[in-house]
């Protein structure tokens, strides 16, 4: 295995985690990771050595995903939770009523652009500037998506009726 492959491979577990959270279904998520990796292997000469490889890979995944969503905009975006995920142990910190299954379901209700930001910040723990670079939007846009996404998630979790209004940017 070449050094390049090894460098990329180190990021596969994180790419898979993010993809799983983004699209919900295990198989679709790995499809997304596979498409991302194929593009990364083929375009590796475009990566500037020394620059942040994780950001580069996530930005490829973002583009692959957005293109895929555009292509399949008629298809249902998310599949229900899998059996395995349902039986995941719930940590003790969740006793406050924030049920993991509900979070998973609520996440699926968010517009994709808010979900992406929420996951890159909350799960991938990227700095806001990195998220802006990955998604190729200004930091201000990242912050407003983050703010709206989190608040919406909070309201869904709190049992408030999900506003039927389309979120207008």
């Amino acid at each position: 295995m070449s050094e390049i492959d090894r460098l990329i491979e180190e990021h596969i577990p994180r790419l898979r985690r993010y993809a799983r959270a983004l699209v919900g279904d295990r198989v679709c998520a790995d499809d997304l990771v596979q498409d991302t990796l194929e593009r990364a292997w083929n375009k590796f000469h475009l990566w500037r050595r020394g620059s942040d490889l994780r950001a580069w890979l996530f930005s490829i995944m973002h583009n692959v995903h957005v293109n895929g969503v555009r292509k399949n905009s008629a298809a249902p975006p998310l599949l229900p939770l899998e059996d395995d995920a349902l039986q995941m142990p719930v940590r003790a910190t969740q006793e406050d009523g924030l049920q993991l299954r509900d979070v998973h379901a609520a996440l699926a209700c968010l517009p994709q652009e808010q979900r992406e930001v929420l996951l890159l910040v909350g799960l991938e723990e990227m700095r806001y500037e990195e998220v802006a670079k990955v998604l190729e939007v200004p930091v201000g846009t990242v912050m407003s998506r983050l703010s709206r996404g989190r608040e919406r998630l909070r309201q869904i979790m709190a049992g408030a009726a999900v506003p039927a209004l389309r979120v207008v940017k």
Binding site: S2, D30, Q94, V103, G122
Partner: protein
């Protein structure tokens, strides 16, 4: 009356641990004075925790084969390199064999191919297993060794591969071509798994050299040692697998 010196972004930065240190005191004071915001940020922080609880287990899953770069492409483009690599591997195998047990003529006999095949099949069957990768877990290692020793008819040792990053998950009893066989499973922090297949050396072959084979995208180092034939399988690259195999060998022959 407190001035609105804070913006929403700084509150998020506080919840995410991204706030610049010099603003901390002000944000904390704001949150004390504004319990609604404080509650909101606490909820956001808990969202982050929930995301980790939900999705961090993915990090420990073994990487599916289809997400690994196929090796054929670069090899086939560079036949010279491939031949060099083969020669290098023959040299490594030969050197190791000599180093370990003195140079011996090592022909991969049919029984050894069977060893490789059984080991790789057992590897691909059990390594993706999420719920029941092993029958007896590492927490009952003494029982595992005693049980498998009894079934295989000779003392089975469980090598510890921790220094290569692979920790014992446990083991299981398997039906081998010539009787009972055993499989030990190991896993590293990234969820990659290796298996060590052990079966009795029924043919009594004296062959003891380290050999390498690759079957169904699984790399295998195998060797015969005393009463047992061993095969260490994993879909990691050869040098890395070799390092683990060497350690396993040392552990089995202290």
């Amino acid at each position: 009356m407190s001035e609105p010196m804070l913006n929403e972004s700084e509150l998020h930065a506080y919840a995410d641990g991204q706030l610049v240190e010099r603003r901390r005191a002000e944000v904390e004071a704001w949150l004390v004075a504004n319990p609604a915001d404080s509650e909101r940020m606490e909820a956001y922080r808990r969202q982050n925790e929930a995301l980790h609880a939900l999705f961090d287990p993915v990090l420990d899953e073994p990487i599916p084969q289809r997400l690994r770069r196929p090796e054929r492409q670069p090899w086939s483009m560079m036949p010279v390199l491939r031949h060099a690599a083969v020669l290098a591997w023959i040299a490594v195998g030969g050197t190791l064999g000599w180093f370990l047990h003195g140079a011996q003529e090592a022909r991969p006999g049919t029984s050894n191919m069977a060893l490789v095949r059984q080991a790789t099949i057992a590897h691909v069957v059990y390594t993706p297993e999420v719920r029941h990768p092993v029958e007896v877990g590492a927490d009952q290692e003494a029982h595992l060794a005693a049980w498998l020793s009894k079934r295989l008819g000779a003392t089975v040792k469980v090598p510890h591969l921790g220094e290569t990053g692979y920790e014992l998950v446990g083991g299981r009893l398997l039906p081998g071509a010539t009787g009972p066989a055993a499989q030990f499973m190991y896993q590293n922090g990234r969820g990659q798994r290796l298996t060590l297949y052990v079966r009795t050396n029924a043919g009594g072959s004296p062959e003891t050299a380290f050999r390498y084979a690759r079957e169904n995208n699984v790399g295998v180092f195998y060797w015969i040692d005393g009463p047992f034939g061993y095969a260490l399988s994993g879909d990691l690259d050869k040098p890395e697998l070799l390092r683990v195999a060497q350690l396993a060998y040392r552990q089995l022959n202290p």
